[in-house]
């Protein structure tokens, strides 16, 4: 039963990565900023994550080291609560074996639940899940929590400019300023024209590079520019990667408050 929890956690990270790539309307046309500090750029990166509520159709494909693939489709609802914490509800649409599985996060690692439709039961997600690789994917719960708000957990310095696949990017070095940050250091490549991250490197406490992500294939959806493909690699799993694909995002959709309740997670209403 609990193994299904890992699936749901992967979905939650998908959400975070997608939100991270959302930029405000017109931002893609903005002129490159100059003279910004690392922290100011980080605030802008967090700023483009801002969205009061979204509804997303997404797919995730985990590619194993032996080339095997597993794909899932899901619908993801997000909305901030009054305190500004991002809440997430994910419902699986496929594969058939996972259809109907639901995942609810109320913005912190101790407020996560899973709904298992086969037994029609809610399960609280234990804290030990937070540090786990999620269903052989390339990320963990803590990836999700860290991604929700860079500026809250890290301080940043601009260490250069680099070109990533034809895009001029700021290179930022992030250092954790809170003990609850999962990674001690993060290196971030931020597109200069729209502040959408292009690449991220995550380092362990010993300074070892452990994970890398790439956000590509920018496209306009519902009036905003988003990266529609996010590749995430856990370097400790050689040859392994997880690909997230945004199929559609609706920023104007109404997401009722009850969507983020245990009752809705269980009943779908």
């Amino acid at each position: 039963m609990r193994s299904k929890v890992l699936f749901a956690a992967a979905m939650a990270l998908a959400l975070a990565l997608m939100v991270a790539g959302i930029t405000a309307p017109g931002a893609v046309k903005a002129a490159p900023s100059t003279g910004l500090s690392g922290d100011e750029i980080l605030v802008k990166v967090d700023g483009i994550m801002e969205a009061k509520a979204t509804v997303m159709d997404a797919a995730m494909t985990t590619v194993g080291s032996n080339g095997t693939e597993k794909s899932s489709e899901m619908i993801i609802y997000t909305k901030k609560d009054a305190a500004g914490k991002a809440r997430t509800l994910i419902r699986y649409l496929s594969p058939a074996a996972d259809k109907g599985i639901g995942f609810l996060s109320l913005g912190s690692v101790d407020k996560m639940w899973m709904y298992l439709p086969k037994v029609e039961k809610l399960v609280r997600i234990a804290g030990s899940m937070v540090k786990q690789s999620m269903m052989n994917s390339d990320f963990s719960y803590e990836d999700l929590m860290d991604r929700a708000n860079f500026a809250e957990y890290y301080s940043a310095q601009v260490v250069g400019n680099e070109n990533i696949e034809g895009q001029n990017c700021y290179v930022l070095e992030l250092k954790a300023k809170k003990g609850s940050a999962h990674y001690r250091q993060v290196k971030l490549w931020v597109r200069q024209d729209n502040f959408i991250p292009a690449k991220e490197e995550f380092y362990s406490g010993s300074g070892k590079l452990v994970k890398v992500s790439y956000q590509t294939d920018l496209a306009v959806m519902d009036g905003r520019t988003v990266p529609t493909k996010i590749v995430f690699k856990d370097l400790e799993q050689k040859g392994h990667q997880t690909v997230l694909t945004i199929k559609d995002i609706r920023f104007s959709a109404e997401v009722p408050e009850r969507t983020f309740s245990l009752q809705y997670l269980e009943k779908g209403q």
Binding site: N66, K99, D110, V119, R124, S128, Q269
Partner: protein
């Protein structure tokens, strides 16, 4: 026997026809109707499948092979935002081959497959607003936090220790949920389906749920038929990464056991689970069933009563599963022994294989029931599996000279659609 098989086949075909029709409707009514389910076939090798209640045949009379089939179809219909309906049909057969023991051993058990066709779910949800939700029809109420047994779950049909995910059949019930700020209040009514039964035989319950900080809490009151009322509670909590959960039920003056100082019942479980690095998962649960027997002689007396019950009713449905559970101590409601330790561990490796072991240990008599399982994910929706069932009846077998163990091996495939 042939008639039974034809009947079973007709039921299966009609089920498939109904669900296929529903699928077509689902396509026609985009986003309004949803269809899915699973189909499982398995080959079975079992040490013996004799009818020991009526006399054990010699081993040469029993072919230790069999087959099982398990079909489930779900149909969900959402005609409006506030209304949803769900239908789940199940067709199961699980039978090992055996000789016609009516002539060779005097058995009265039919040799035909044990076929069940059930309406597992059939309910309507009505959610008039964000505060109130109603559900009427055949449903699973699913109280409690334990995996192998839920001491607080008096209203649902009982299940065996290893079948938590085996889609147990629901009960006809009314359920209402009312959101009261941080607390959700629930009421349940399970009318008795016995002909001519009155209100007193129905099940009634009230429960309150809340999730303050990092803990889920529930408190409830439940009255099951003519039994004394009980109060219940359960919790789930995460402490330093360890998931903790538990349930307790207290019932005044409801205990039939003669050795008890009082007739009060206190059933409970405490459990913990943890995810270790490397993808290992381990869960441990300890159960106490206050209404169960304290020792082997009482167990044997209980077995005699069960035997008489089966003989009188002529009903063999669920009988093999009951006996498997009995040998290991029969965990759960109506259980035979008081204390059990349940362990579940799993590990996924090479991204396609999942190894799992579940076991129940009864410290009273040393009996053990274990179910190892290995799964292989073949594509997106197909699972191949090998599953064993090992039973050591401990002192029960030694002292009672009971039946041979029912060790079993299943090999099968499950397809979800």
């Amino acid at each position: 026997m042939r008639l039974n098989r034809i009947k079973g086949l007709l039921v299966l075909l009609s089920t498939i026809a109904v669900l296929a029709l529903s699928a077509n409707l689902a396509l026609a009514e985009e986003n309004k109707m949803d269809f899915g389910g699973s189909f499982e076939v398995r080959a079975i090798s079992q040490a013996k499948n004799s009818d020991f209640l009526f006399g054990e045949p010699s081993s040469t009379e029993v072919v230790p092979l069999g087959a099982g089939l398990n079909f489930r179809g779900d149909l969900a219909f959402t005609p409006a935002d506030q209304v949803a309906a769900k239908l789940r049909l199940g067709y199961k057969t699980d039978s090992t081959m055996q000789t016609d023991s009516t002539t060779q051993t005097g058995s009265t058990l039919p040799p035909a497959p044990n076929v069940t066709f059930t309406l597992d779910r059939g309910y309507i949800d009505f959610t008039p607003n964000s505060l109130l939700s109603l559900r009427v029809g055949k449903q699973r109420l699913a109280w409690g936090t334990g995996y192998a047994w839920n001491p607080t779950d008096l209203l649902d049909l009982p299940r065996t220790a290893f079948t938590a995910e085996d889609d147990p059949e629901g009960v006809v019930a009314f359920r209402g949920d009312l959101a009261l700020g941080p607390v959700t209040g629930q009421v349940f009514l399970v009318p008795s389906t016995d002909p001519g039964s009155d209100w007193e035989k129905s099940g009634r319950a009230v429960r309150f749920k809340a999730s303050p900080s990092a803990v889920d809490l529930t408190a409830g009151w439940v009255k099951h038929g003519t039994d004394p009322a009980a109060v219940t509670g359960d919790f789930a909590y995460s402490l330093s990464g360890v998931g903790l959960h538990g349930e307790v039920l207290y019932q005044s003056e409801g205990n039939p056991r003669a050795d008890k100082a009082t007739k009060d019942v206190i059933n409970y479980l405490v459990g913990a689970d943890y995810n270790f690095p490397g993808g290992y998962y381990l869960a441990v649960e300890y159960y106490h069933n206050d209404t169960a027997f304290k020792d082997v002689p009482e167990l044997l007396s209980y077995l005699g009563q069960v035997k008489d019950k089966y003989i009188a009713s002529g009903n063999v449905t669920g009988y093999p599963a009951f006996m498997q559970e009995y040998l290991a101590g029969l965990i759960g409601n109506g259980g035979a022994t008081r204390d059990h330790l349940f362990v579940r561990g799993s590990k996924t490796f090479k991204e396609k294989y999942t190894a799992e072991l579940m076991a129940v240990y009864n410290p009273t008599d040393g009996s053990v029931e274990a179910q190892p399982r290995l799964e292989y994910a073949w594509g997106q929706n197909t699972t191949l599996f090998v599953q064993g069932l090992l039973v050591n009846a401990g002192k029960k077998e030694a002292e009672a000279n009971l039946i041979p163990l029912r060790n079993r091996l299943d090999v099968g495939m499950k397809v979800s659609f």
